[in-house]
Every structure is written in C-alpha cells, then in structure tokens.
Symmetry: C2
Subunit: 311 residues, 2 copies
C-alpha cells in the first residue's frame, strides 16, 4: 500500500511567546509526510525552489518517503510564510506570504503516485486538488483539507472537490463558514450530504471531532504544559489520521478504526507543537507514539454507574 500527499513544501518564519525561527522547514505536505510515514510509504508531490537544499530534502525523506515527485523549479524560490502567534497561541497573524514557485504549480504525478491506495489533498487551490483527483487511478480512500480563503473566493471549485472525496478534514470554524451552520454538529451533518462519508473537525487546542453518518467521536488535544509552536499541528494530525487509515486497508473503514486513527493523529500533533516547525517530529521515535495514545485513552474514559436521581 502507499499514500500520496499533494501540497505545499515551504519555509516558515514563525514567532511565538517561546521564541522565533527566521527560516524553518514547513508546509502542509512536509508536516503530513513526517507523520504519515510512521504508518505507510508516502509519496510527496509539490514544488520547491533552488533554495530547498539537501538538508530539507533529507528531512522530507524520513522513513523512506518518496520525493521523486517533488518538483524543483529552476530559478524559483520555495513558498514562504511568516506569522506571529498571540500570547496564548490562540490567534496568529500572517506577516508575509510569498507564493513563489506555487504560483505556477501544476501537479504532475508519476505513475507510482497516481497508483497510491490512499490520497491526501492538502490545502491548495481547489482546482489543483481536482486536477490531482483526475490523475489518480482509483484510490481506495481520499481525504482533503482546505481553508477559509478558498471558501471565500473559490467556493464552487471547492464544493466540486468535496463532492468527490471520502473525508473532509477542516477547522471547525471553516466547516461552519462552508455550510453557514451555527455550530460544528450541524455543519458536519451538512457536509455529509455534500459527498464525504467522513468529516473531521479540527478544534485546535481543544482537540478534534469525527463525524460519519453512523457515528461521532470527540477527542481532546493531548494535554501539554508547554506548547511552543502550533504551526503544522493540523497537517501533522491529518498525517497521523490518514496514515492510520492507509495502513489498515484490509480491515476496511469502520468506526473503531477511525476512532483509533483520531487518537494517533492527536498523539502525533502533540509532538509537533512541542518544538518549532518539524524539529520535534523529525526526530520522533515510533516507540514514543503509542504511550500518548494510551494516555489519551486514560484521560477520556469513564464508567457510568446507576444512580437514583431525585424526581
């Protein structure tokens, strides 16, 4: 089995209350691949410039991730994003966005990437997401991310993509914006009528929720005393979630498996935010993941017990 991700490879400049980085490896496809590669062979598709060096490529290739479809644009510069987080990390301000090589990006997937069993369309222009869907032969499971910008300026294209995927992974507020629903429960219900059979609502520091037509499931973020940099947490979560689904191809997609996928995504994301950018996950050992899944289980379980209430 294998998993293809199409999305951004980037350099980020980030400032948080815990410090700053002027130029660190980032991008949705990068964070996704680092997490998903714990579960499956990953193929990364995305453009970089001349400034994307061997060091960055080495991190991207962690655990055998295939970078053959990373397109190096001669004379181009890698996508760049700069942002600053508020004191409690709840809000972030974008200081600079330079699309660079992304401006003219047209995904060209190798046969290997097209044949992948599972596909993740990270947050890029919806028309490009659609184009990738058209190139792929017959993926068993397709998940996608998006953002408020595309809901604002490319809603029609976005809805065309959403109609064709199995799973939409989006921030809760974006789900509400997409559906004009007043809360995430009714928003998710509406998205399930748009095509996907699975909706994952990312709730930032509060965790994530999973919705299917038969089930829903809520998991908190892994509790940390110190969060250094939330950049890439959502993509790392997606990498853990989709990666877990990808490596369970033969057992089929069911509620129990999806719930565990939510837990693995949550565990991975918690490591991502412990340090800047990819710093922590790049050196994460596989043995560190399941203890956090077990901890997530222990902090959410309770046993009910019959009780006589006053009438």
């Amino acid at each position: 089995m294998s998993l293809t991700v199409v999305g951004s490879l980037a350099f980020d400049a980030v400032e948080t209350p815990f410090g700053k980085r002027d130029r660190m490896l980032g991008g949705a496809a990068t964070h996704f691949a680092l997490a998903a590669s714990f579960f499956d062979q990953v193929h990364v598709v995305g453009p970089v410039g001349d400034d994307f060096g061997d060091e960055e490529m080495a991190i991207l290739s962690t655990r055998g991730t295939n970078t053959g479809d990373v397109e190096r644009v001669e004379g181009g510069k890698t996508f760049f994003w700069a942002g600053r987080y508020s004191a409690n990390l709840n809000e972030r301000e974008t200081l600079d966005t330079q699309l660079n090589v992304f401006e003219t990006f047209q995904p060209k997937l190798s046969q290997e990437s097209r044949d992948a069993d599972v596909l993740f369309l990270a947050n890029i222009v919806p028309d490009l997401q659609y184009d990738v869907l058209e190139q792929c032969t017959n993926p068993r499971f397709v998940a996608m991310d998006s953002m408020n910008l595309w809901i604002d300026i490319a809603r029609e294209s976005l809805e065309k993509v959403i109609a064709r995927v199995d799973c939409l992974i989006l921030n809760d507020e974006e789900l509400e914006q997409l559906t004009d629903a007043p809360n995430v429960v009714s928003a998710a219900k509406q998205v399930l009528d748009m095509g996907p059979s699975i909706v994952v609502a990312k709730q930032g520091k509060y965790g994530a929720a999973l919705f299917t037509r038969e089930d829903h499931f809520w998991i908190p973020a892994f509790p940390l005393g110190t969060v250094v940099d939330p950049t890439g947490a959502g993509d790392t979560f997606a990498g853990g979630f989709v990666g877990y689904v990808a490596c369970h191809g033969y057992e089929g997609i069911n509620s129990d498996m999806l719930r565990r996928a939510m837990a693995y995504g949550t565990a991975l994301a918690s490591y991502n935010v412990e340090e800047f950018g990819t710093e922590r996950v790049a050196r994460l050992d596989a043995s560190e993941i399941s203890p956090r899944v077990a901890e997530l289980r222990s902090i959410t379980q309770f046993e009910d017990r019959p009780i006589t209430l006053r009438g």
Copy 2:
C-alpha cells in the same frame, strides 16, 4: 446530606440568533439549584427584590429546594443582566448590568444552610464568599466559581477564598488569567498549588477538563445540532458536578466518581442550552439525564490496538 449554594438570583434579558427574552429567570444560584436538586437537597442563599414573584420562587423550589434563605429586600429590585450573543454564540456582549439588591447583599445563612455537607460559592464578590465560608460549620466539600472581574480588581481577596476551597470551577481563560499561565494545563497545575485539590476548567462549547494532583480528565460538551441560549450553562454544569459529588458522600471523593460527576454536569448543561434561561431544565425529567451520560461515554471511548509502526 444537603448542599448550600450562595449566589445570584436574577432576571436576564437575552438575545441570541434564535430569539430573545426580555425578562427571564436567571442567576447563577438559580441555574445551579435546578441542576443540583436532581442529586441532593439544595439550600439557596441570595437576595431578590419585590419583583421576584411566586412563579419564580416556584421554579427555584423545584425538587424541594429550600428557599428559606432567599432574602427578599423590601423596596428593592432583583439583579438584572442583559446580553447579546454573537452568531455562533462564541462571544457575548453585556448590554446592561443592574446590581440592585446585590449592591448591599450580606449573606446571612440559617443554621440549616450553615450545616450543609457541601457548599457551592457561586460567582459573587470574593469577600462575601469568604464571609460565607466563615459562617459554615464544617462542610465536607466546598467548590467555588469566580470571574475575570474579580481577578482584575480583587485578586488578593479571591486568592484568600481559593486557598480555602476544595474545588475551583472556572473558565479556562480565567484560569490562565488567574495564574498568568499560557495554557490551561499549566494554569490548573498552579491552582493546585494554591490550595484546591480539584480544578475544573470550563471550556464552553468545547467541554470541560478536570485536574487533581493524581489525575486529569477531559470531556467534550454534549454535541447538539441547535444551541439556543448558552446563558447559565456553566452554572448548570457546576450544579450537576457538585450535586453528583454531594450525593456520593460516603464513597469518598475519588477519580472515578469525579469523572462521572463531570459527565453528569455536562449532560445537565446540554439541556440548559437547548432553550432560553431555565426553560428546559425547569421541566427536565430525571429519566432524561442518564441517556446523555451514556451517549457522552459512547462518543468518547476508543479501544487501542497494538500496531507496528514504521521505524
């Protein structure tokens, strides 16, 4: 066993995207008592004006709640609050606050209220909370709420009260403000050093978290497709939580029991927000509560399963 709550009885004017009420029964002690009375005999202590009628008193007395310590101030008017919620109910704007009889309120507890096994200090001036503590003989369990205003203008008095209670129930952002911590996990840890052995962080529509020195526990809000009015949700949660603790006196306070208390508080709060003010909980039947507790359990549980990760 019995449970005393000291706090506001109020009339609220509320506007939400689902409608408005110009004058409805409200107040922390009211919402708390309606929920807690499912679990234990409640004594309410708080002031009202001449405008607080038989109808309001009847709702307050639901399930035998003792209103003997509701102090009627001759010629006075009941506390009044007016507010408007944003489209997604995330934010609320206070349009008017009239302290009225609350301005000169000095809690005077009857012997019965003083002797209560469990005490809840709803959100009032910290010095009055302290005064109530002094009046009580020897409660087995004391919980309290507060708000950002008192952290701003009466921090010293507030910390004096916090040092003497078993359990602080506060919004997550207020916990962060109180401790100057960047997140709720480190904030709760700091509060556990200030005296309380239990900290409950209310996270609004995202649920609540429980912290003790040995344990922590996270529970989502009960998922609802329609939330009509969040007013009083926190106090209803507190009523369910503290009420559950109160009726389990003999089994002692332990993690399993506290986790169930969180679930009952969450279930009660979910009914509160389904309609305006006390409208839904006032006619809630005891038999409706445990199904929501069971549902909360089912939407948060997952089984881990060994998996071989790629190294």
